[in-house]
């Protein structure tokens, strides 16, 4: 079993400290200062800049700029949609990989990790080359009146590409460990495939699935590189929140830029909190039901 699936099931045992006090102090100081300098100070700075001129200016920056408003709306549409599609894909991929034997299976598993390995900019370029006006499918789609590049479908494609592995990666080791016996038992008791999935498979994988969805969502909200290449950066049309932050910053509109940035940071914090809450819930739920055999 891969450590990935066990991460949230394991509770760390208490360790006996054997290192000298000064080494412990040094390591703790290093860790704390890294967190403070790399995470806490920038985060506080973002909020300080955004709210520095008061809550009304912040509100004006967010709400009274139609382009910013559109960017927020676009991000809040594209991200959930790509998360939804990737959840469906992730479950299907994990199912196929853990329940069936077929030629090319290991290749599929490897390809699944490609989005993690490849630079998002390269991914964006691939889509431009495929669907752009000079690309392979672009002109044909154009004739059908479908615009992909420099429009929202490209944003969706790019976001889906970079977040593709999250759900599947979370599910595969778990479903491997669970095996298919419970599912076979359900079928032998008369369940149809739909009942089997909703009543047996899903409850068994729900925590890992939620975990994958949260991670997928965090990445989808913040995606910049791939989206940057395919969006064409059209204000009020294809600018997502991260792109809007960059554009406002380039235009020397620091308060506006930091306002959107702080909103993104808030969304990220919300994601983090839901992850934390989820881990608490899991810890409360598992002890009774965890298989000991």
């Amino acid at each position: 079993m891969q450590p990935n699936s066990q991460r949230h099931l394991r509770t760390a045992g208490r360790m006996v400290a054997t290192e000298p006090w000064w080494l412990r102090a040094l390591l703790i100081a290093l860790a704390v200062s890294a967190v403070v300098w790399l995470i806490v100070i920038p985060l506080v700075y973002v909020f300080w800049q955004a709210l520095g001129q008061g809550i009304f200016v912040f509100w004006k920056n967010i709400w009274h700029d139609p382009d910013t408003r559109h960017a927020i709306w676009l991000t809040l549409t594209v991200a959930p949609l790509s998360v939804l599609l990737n959840t469906i894909f992730g479950i299907a991929a994990a199912w196929v990989i853990t329940r069936f034997q077929f030629p090319g299976k290991s290749l599929l598993v490897t390809l699944l990790d490609l989005p993690f390995a490849i630079s998002p900019v390269v991914a964006g370029l691939m889509f431009v080359l495929l669907f752009g006006m000079q690309g392979y499918f672009g002109p044909a789609l154009r004739e059908w009146g479908i615009r992909v590049i420099f429009a929202w479908p490209a944003l969706l494609l790019a976001t889906m590409f970079v977040t593709l592995p999250f759900v599947a990666r979370e599910l595969i080791p778990l479903m491997h460990a669970l095996g298919s016996d419970e599912e076979l038992a359900a079928v032998s008791l008369g369940a149809n495939p739909w009942q089997m999935f909703w009543r047996v498979t899903l409850p068994n994988i729900r925590w890992a699935l939620l975990f994958g969805i949260i991670q997928c969502n965090a990445r989808a909200l913040g995606e910049f590189g791939a989206v940057y290449v395919v969006s064409g950066h059209i204000a009020g049309e294809t600018d997502t929140m991260p792109l809007r932050v960059e554009k406002l910053f380039q235009e020397y509109n620091n308060p506006g830029s930091f306002a959107v940035a702080s909103l993104l940071a808030l969304l990220a914090l919300a994601t983090l909190l839901s992850k934390l809450a989820l881990e608490r819930l899991m810890a409360a739920d598992e002890p009774r039901k965890e298989e000991t055999a």
């Binding site: 038992a185 032998s188 008791l189 369940a191 149809n192 068994n204 009774r288 965890e290 000991t292 055999a293």
Partner: protein
């Protein structure tokens, strides 16, 4: 509901799991599929259930061909080796599952589940989760879950394999009693010959994807059809010798073997079960074998004696009844005579005696 298996073949890649297997399981009988691992017994069970499909051959329930019928339409109760209980459901919900997916009315579900909890002696444990149960309790939940939908037959894969000896013994007796109450056709897989003999009406011995012998426990035990069956059914003493003119020759010893009256001398193997050997202080018959006592181990109701024959250069195991052991007063190193009450001779290349 009777089961007919006709000329079933199954291979996994290059491995032949079942090689032309045909078997009849009469209605209401309790049948054990017995064999070592890799003999195809579990594959056969899964093919009956529909969890696995045969490459060739047909499966009939009563007179109906179910070969192409899906698992969930076969209406069989299947109990998995490791129970496969739904870990996120309570015991109650586990047992209710089959009824729920068939949209049985709530009141009926509750009544049936309570009835089954009583049947498997788990009253009051309905709210527990599988992880909170002992192995034996889990096994009974698995059984209740399979029985809840009133299946046409019950199929059990190594039902007691993962339990400790005492619980296993209890559950065997209990399963036998349960079967007598319900009379539902039952097939179970086991590699434990004792279990098969104790529980089943009929024993099917499998080896490398083929059926070696089918019969009642007494029949199979007393008249094993092949050396494999003889060997598999527990400890045996093996003598290698030759047969000629109705006699079997074992070194300087010989005994009657009327099944082979021919002149030509042929290699043969004689098998004698430990309880079919007797130990005496004196040479009571001319064929008794002089031997030396090597080891004495009390084991349950018998004393297992290990003796060596210097003439034949072999060691034998003899089961002595306690009283007999007490009268003989054997000591390690004692000189004794071993005689056989019953000998089975098998000739290689000709197993059909």
């Amino acid at each position: 509901m009777s089961i007919s298996i006709r000329h079933v073949f199954k291979r996994f890649g290059a491995f032949v799991a079942l090689d032309d297997v045909s078997l009849e399981v009469p209605t209401g009988k309790l049948v054990a599929l017995l064999g070592p691992s890799g003999s195809g017994k579990t594959t056969l069970l899964r093919i009956i259930s529909g969890l696995e499909t045969a490459d060739r051959g047909t499966i009939l329930f009563q007179d109906e061909d179910v070969t192409d019928r899906r698992v969930r339409d076969r209406h069989v109760g299947f109990v998995f080796q490791h129970y496969a209980l739904f870990r996120h459901m309570s015991v109650f919900e586990n047992i209710a599952f089959g009824l729920r997916v068939r949209h049985t009315p709530k009141a009926e579900v509750t009544a049936r589940v309570e009835e089954l909890l009583t049947l498997v002696r788990l009253d009051g444990l309905g709210k527990r989760y599988p992880a909170e149960l002992s192995g034996g309790q889990r096994q009974r939940v698995a059984l209740a879950r399979a029985l809840a939908v009133r299946p046409q037959m019950l199929l059990l894969d190594e039902p007691f394999g993962a339990l400790d000896a005492k619980v296993r013994q209890e559950l065997r007796t209990w399963l036998r009693r349960l079967h007598e109450e319900m009379h539902v056709t039952t097939v179970f897989v086991t590699h434990d010959q004792e279990e098969a003999f104790e529980v089943a009406d009929q024993v099917v011995v499998l080896r490398s994807g083929r059926i070696e012998q089918v019969g009642t426990p007494e029949n199979v035990f007393d008249h094993p059809a092949t050396p494999f069956v003889m060997d598999f059914l527990g400890n045996v003493n093996v003598f290698h010798g030759r047969v000629q003119n109705g006699q079997m020759h074992l070194g300087p010893f010989q005994m009657d073997f009327p099944d082979y009256p021919h002149d030509e001398s042929k290699a043969a193997t004689a098998y004698v079960r430990p309880h079919e050997l007797a130990i005496d202080r004196t040479q009571v018959t001319p064929t008794a074998l002089p031997a030396r006592v090597l080891q004495l181990n009390p084991s349950g109701s018998v004393v297992k004696a290990r003796v060596a024959s210097d003439e034949l250069g072999i060691e034998l195991t003899v089961d002595l009844v306690r009283e007999q052991a007490a009268t003989l007063q054997l000591q390690i190193g004692d000189r004794v005579f071993v005689s056989a009450r019953n000998v089975r001779v098998f000739m290689p290349s000709d197993f059909t005696i």
